[in-house]
């Protein structure tokens, strides 16, 4: 079966600053892969490379068997950033409808109803509100609904829960996994929170160094549903320790 995301020996960066070096990564369709590493190790750049926003200096990038640009044009990639990055001048509903309005020649292949999508993240009653009227957790739920409304095959997430408080984060992990299970998209989830990586992912890829290379990976054998915290299950504790052991000092 064709990989959802396939990076072969990719190096990338900005003029004078190599950020990624010789990185290879394969994500199977429907797989949840977390990319863990310290802050500032090029995890965001990695997502930009996968989305085709940063061209690789060397190596090849394929998304859903083709060039990233083609996948983007077909609206088969979803993106969630660390802050919700909603348009403050649009209502909640307007924000979730936006992906269907932009690049309208592409139908987004089986797009969902924005209202249903908001219903699914528990914001069915907040359609007419503006982002500044919402809590951080609610805003991030809108961002999730917005990313999933085009029914993408690949979902890229850049520390989407990092700006939230601990309890909201625990709630949202569970909601995130439910949404993922319903959508069956492949996920590349970037985080510096190792427990979070283990709690969410099928597989954790660890990157480190400058420029960043892949230093190893841990397959999380634990079944689903997952508990709220790593400490609840010994297999998750072991996986988290394994990830921690891979991180360079």
């Amino acid at each position: 079966m064709e990989s959802a995301v396939a990076l072969e020996n990719v190096s990338a960066g900005y003029p004078g600053t190599p950020v990624l070096e010789g990185l290879s990564l394969r994500v199977a369709p429907g797989e949840f892969v977390a990319v863990a590493g310290r802050s500032g190790t090029g995890k965001t750049t990695l997502l930009r490379v996968i989305a085709g926003l940063v061209p690789p200096a060397a190596g090849t990038v394929r998304v859903l068997g083709g060039a990233p640009l083609a996948a983007r044009r077909a609206k088969r990639i979803g993106f969630v950033a660390q802050d919700a990055a909603l348009h403050p001048w649009l209502t909640v509903l307007g924000n979730v409808e936006l992906p269907l309005r932009v690049n309208a020649t592409s139908d987004g292949d089986g797009a969902l109803s924005p209202r249903d999508q908001l219903e699914r993240v528990g914001l069915g009653a907040a359609l007419a509100r503006y982002p500044h009227e919402l809590s951080g957790g609610m805003r991030q739920r809108v961002a999730l609904a917005r990313a999933l409304v085009t029914a993408p095959d690949v979902l890229l997430m850049d520390e989407p829960l990092a700006a939230l408080d601990e309890l909201t984060r625990e709630d949202m992990r569970g909601e995130l996994l439910e949404l993922w299970a319903a959508s069956r998209c492949a996920v590349v989830y970037v985080t510096h929170d190792l427990d979070e990586a283990v709690l969410l992912a099928d597989r954790v890829v660890v990157v480190g160094g400058r420029p960043a290379r892949m230093v190893g990976e841990v397959t999380v054998g634990a079944g689903r549903p997952r508990p709220r915290r790593v400490a609840r299950r010994s297999d998750l504790v072991d996986a988290a320790d394994a990830v921690r052991g891979l991180l360079p000092a």
Partner: protein, 258 residues
């Protein structure tokens, strides 16, 4: 009435009260020290003059306001187009910006007579000057607003395959709105000044013309009357821009706390 409407009315009311207090002090001063009318006219004399020649002043005010408004609209439109071009291309940014600075650095008093020479004594040179004086602050603010978009919102649109045009209308233009309104608060009054200065250098009508003639004739009640009308117009314009800003930018955090 809405909370926003009330606050606009409050702005105007406070301004009017302040002016009234200044007038009261002036009135007391001119009558107590018997200040001659050709040096400082008593506010009551100015008020009497304004009342007596109300139609005349109203007509001249309309001319000036019309010139200023048209110039403001013209300068703002041109600034928006130029800023958009600069936001789209670095090459255009490098070409347009030095020209804009040239325009900015040219003293209005120096070119106003030239414009009168070129365009005659009618409204055209006044509209041009008002537009010119409006142009630069609007250009700089619109450009900064269009460039300072949230990189994550930009990435989100790009991942969706948005075209540069879609990125412009869906993200850059709305992001520039708060900056445009800050600039408009300055530029709207500048346009008024521009129109008056342009009238000063040769005009058939307008408040600038009234001030010029009154100055030559030591007709201080007319002069102060015209200045007073200008001040009132400026305050009203400011309040209008503010009210419009609160309505359009209801989603903007700075507007929320203002």
């Amino acid at each position: 009435m809405t909370r926003r409407g009330r606050s606009a009315v409050l702005d105007v009311a406070v301004a009017a009260l302040t002016l009234a207090a200044v007038a009261l002090v002036l009135e007391a001063w001119t009558s107590a020290f018997r200040v001659p009318g050709y040096l400082v006219p008593a506010p009551s004399a100015v008020a009497a003059r304004l009342a007596r020649d109300a139609t005349f002043f109203a007509g001249e005010t309309t001319v000036t306001l019309f010139e200023a408004a048209l110039g403001f609209a013209l300068g703002t439109s041109l600034a928006f187009v130029a800023a958009s071009a600069m936001a789209f291309s670095r090459a255009l940014e490098r070409t347009i910006f030095p020209l804009a600075i040239l325009v900015k650095l040219t003293p209005i008093v120096a070119i106003a007579p030239l414009f009168t020479l070129w365009f005659g004594f009618g409204s055209a040179p006044k509209i041009a000057i008002a537009g010119l004086i409006t142009f630069f602050p609007m250009l700089v603010n619109a450009f900064v607003g269009m460039r300072s978009v949230d990189p994550q919102e930009l990435a989100f649109l790009e991942v969706l395959g948005a075209s540069p045009g879609e990125v412009f209308w869906r993200l850059r233009a709305p992001s520039a709105l708060p900056y445009l309104f800050s600039a408009a608060r300055v530029s709207a009054n500048l346009a008024l000044i521009g129109a008056v200065v342009a009238e000063w250098t040769g005009a058939e009508r307008g408040l600038g013309r009234v001030i010029f003639v009154a100055n030559a004739n030591l007709d201080l009640t007319a002069l102060f009357g015209a200045v007073l009308i200008l001040a009132a117009a400026g305050i009203t314009v400011n309040a209008l821009v503010g009210a419009l800003e609160r309505r359009v930018l209801h989603w903007h955090p700075i507007t929320l706390t203002a």
